[in-house]
Symmetry: C2
Subunit: 111 residues, 2 copies
């Protein structure tokens, strides 16, 4: 029962958190979708479904946070690389502030 609750809860925590993670990774440079999934797996041990990430990237693009460009490969399928826009970089900073405040609040509650 507890495991099931945590499973559902952690899925809900991803709503919002996941975009923060993606944008934070993109602060480091350019990445393509499949690579982002691998990066997140390494950094967070979170499993991110493809059906979660690709729509998320499209939303971020539509909102002007990221931009993308197709890059042909000498072998294999072309990759769509994403990078932060100027607005995206400012969004990242605002997210940092919000997250820090939220964490500070939780520390206070836990005391």
């Amino acid at each position: 029962m507890i495991e099931e609750f945590i499973a559902k809860w952690s899925s809900q925590v991803k709503k919002g958190t996941l975009s923060y993670i993606v944008i934070s990774v993109l602060e480091k440079g350019e990445f393509y979708g499949y690579d982002l999934i691998e990066q997140i797996k390494q950094y967070t041990k979170l499993e991110v479904a493809e059906g979660t990430l690709y729509p998320l990237l499209n939303r971020l693009k539509k909102q002007g946070v990221v931009e993308s460009k197709w890059v042909e490969q000498t072998s294999g399928i072309p990759r769509k690389y994403y990078h932060l826009t100027e607005d995206g970089k400012q969004v990242a900073k605002a997210m940092d502030l919000y997250w820090e405040e939220l964490n500070h609040s939780l520390v206070k509650i836990k005391q």
Copy 2:
């Protein structure tokens, strides 16, 4: 644009985070709904709508995380007090671990 994005994003962050906050406050003792809204406002500066909290408490009750009891007041409307069940206390611990891990991951990404 950035403000609007953060406004929508922070609403998404609440999904999951809010239940963590409520359960964390309830680790301190018994609270009733309206009081929880005030507690959260003080601890986190978050505005929690009544239409958000009451359904959340009902879900937590249905899932066996909290229990409630009506308490008549000498003056005014009776209050419904909530407290964690034994399962709820274990859920709280599991949430702490998950949250800590998530934060640690973000620190690594931000490095």
